[in-house]
């Protein structure tokens, strides 16, 4: 059975309060969801709390799923909204000064000199956490969760044009953050 059809079957069972269906749904999505929440929120404890809230919403509101979007889009839309809500009450993250982003040009990058290509995963994580939540979210949804522009527009509840421009800006912000962290080390 295709994955999407199986997910919908699980949701139908969850509407009938089938706890084993929710357990299976959790097992299928916990890694992806936690990864997204951790990288957008920037803290393990808070990400775990929000993950629980996401699953509670699925448990209580599975019957509101209409089927017009993929199950994963619906689920990540809930996760995104709850993550943004959690971040509103936790503003301890310093974000990249947007004025610095304009100094990073799109043009002819030299791959061998490009900071993005040579930094470690931990350095990228640190740089990600210094971005604004909306920039983290678009990078995460596009390149790790691999949603299309249309799906992301629904998840984030913004026009497709906004998704495109936000993604482009986010890439530059990430590069600026990585450059800044390299300069600090030097």
């Amino acid at each position: 059975m295709p994955e999407e059809d199986y997910d919908r079957t699980l949701l139908k069972r969850i509407t009938r309060h089938d706890q084993s269906a929710l357990a299976e749904f959790y097992a299928r999505y916990q890694s992806r969801l936690f990864g997204y929440l951790f990288r957008v929120i920037g803290g393990k404890q808070l990400a775990e709390d929000v993950l629980q809230e996401v699953m509670l919403v699925v448990w209580q509101k599975a019957h509101t799923y209409r089927g017009s979007a993929k199950v994963s889009s619906w689920l990540f839309g809930i996760a995104h909204n709850l993550a943004m809500g959690a971040l509103r009450s936790d503003r301890t993250v310093n974000n990249v000064d947007l004025e610095n982003v304009s100094d990073v040009q799109d043009g002819e990058p030299m791959p061998e000199d490009n900071v993005i290509s040579r930094v470690s995963g931990e350095a990228v994580l640190k740089a990600l956490i210094s971005l604004t939540p909306s920039h983290r979210a678009v990078l995460e949804l596009a390149f790790y969760q691999e949603f299309s522009c249309k799906e992301m527009a629904r998840i984030l509840d913004v026009p497709e044009g906004t998704v495109k421009s936000r993604l482009s800006y986010a890439r530059r912000a990430l590069k600026a953050a990585l450059l800044r962290s390299e300069e600090e080390i030097i």
Partner: protein
């Protein structure tokens, strides 16, 4: 932002999606055909690839959730739902927050379109009254109810709001969402009309605002209520058609006496009966809200 003017032909905003492999077959073929001869886009794609690879390295460095997280969640599954806010102050703050949250979810063109049509109506009213061809502000007073009604026909429902599923997965009741949207759209049109009538009052001596209110306020409520009800019960097309038909009857009732429309013009007293129109509007809205269940069920 690129500074190269030669990149006007480049599908710059598609390159990131080409890299995450979510373009359609047609779009992907077009991008690949372009990439074959564009060094700028090739470099851009290379940088997108590095960004993707870097993010996947970050993903590999991400910790896993705690092993006992499911066990913690299980204990909460059948816990009673938290009581809704009871304090008036918290409820007020929540409704205010909800009102502001609904603004970006309503069709963006609705605000500008309503304002544009009403301003045009004001200008026509002003020109006609200057020529003494028609009592002041009649055109505006006739247009305002229709614009409000048409706006309300597109505020709710899956065909008008692709984000409705996500809104319904939140703790907010669909009825609260609908109420906020009604308040926003109707309130916007009402405020705009009052402001434009206020301008009339300022520049036209002896302009009778009270008489104008009788002309459009009741019909605006009535038409808005029935438009929203038709939109919820049947759909946008029925709502728009119904609004236009009723509005046409309204206009006929305002015309000089014509024996061909005697029956319809006999209804002019109905359109002037503000209390009756308000009562009917309230009835339509109540039925409409009852149609939107507390929790909509689709599976």
């Amino acid at each position: 932002m690129t500074t190269n003017p030669l990149r006007a032909e480049c599908p710059v905003d598609q390159l990131g999606w080409y890299m995450n492999q979510t373009l359609s077959d047609h779009e992907r073929s077009a991008v690949e055909a372009h990439l074959a001869h564009c060094p700028w886009c090739q470099a851009d794609v290379a940088e997108w690839r590095m960004t993707r690879d870097a993010l996947q390295r970050a993903a590999a460095a991400t910790p896993q959730p705690s092993a006992n997280l499911w066990a913690k969640l299980e204990t909460r599954l059948d816990a009673p739902k938290p009581r809704r806010m009871g304090a008036l102050r918290e409820s007020t703050a929540f409704l205010w927050y909800l009102l502001r949250a609904q603004i970006p979810l309503i069709r963006r063109d609705l605000w500008a379109a309503s304002a544009l049509v009403l301003i045009i109506g004001w200008v026509i009213s002003f020109l006609l009254s200057a020529q003494r061809a028609m009592p002041s502000a009649v055109v505006l007073a006739v247009l305002a109810p229709l614009i409000a009604a048409l706006g309300l026909s597109v505020v709710y429902g899956p065909e008008n709001d692709v984000g409705l599923e996500w809104a319904m997965a939140s703790q907010t009741s669909p009825r609260q969402v609908l109420l906020c949207r009604f308040v926003l759209v109707f309130g916007y049109n009402l405020a705009l009309t009052l402001v434009l009538l206020g301008v009339f009052k300022l520049i036209i001596p002896g302009f009778d605002v009270t008489a104008m209110l009788d002309l459009w306020l009741g019909p605006m409520f009535f038409l808005s209520g029935i438009s929203l009800l038709l939109s919820l019960a049947i759909g946008v097309n029925a709502s728009v058609t119904g609004s236009l038909v009723l509005w046409t009857l309204r206009v006929i009732a305002l015309m000089p006496v014509d024996t061909r429309f005697a029956t319809l013009q006999s209804l002019s007293s109905f359109w002037s009966s503000t209390p009756i129109l308000l009562l009917l509007a309230a009835g339509f809205l109540i039925v409409g809200f009852m149609l939107v269940k507390k929790e909509e069920i689709f599976l």
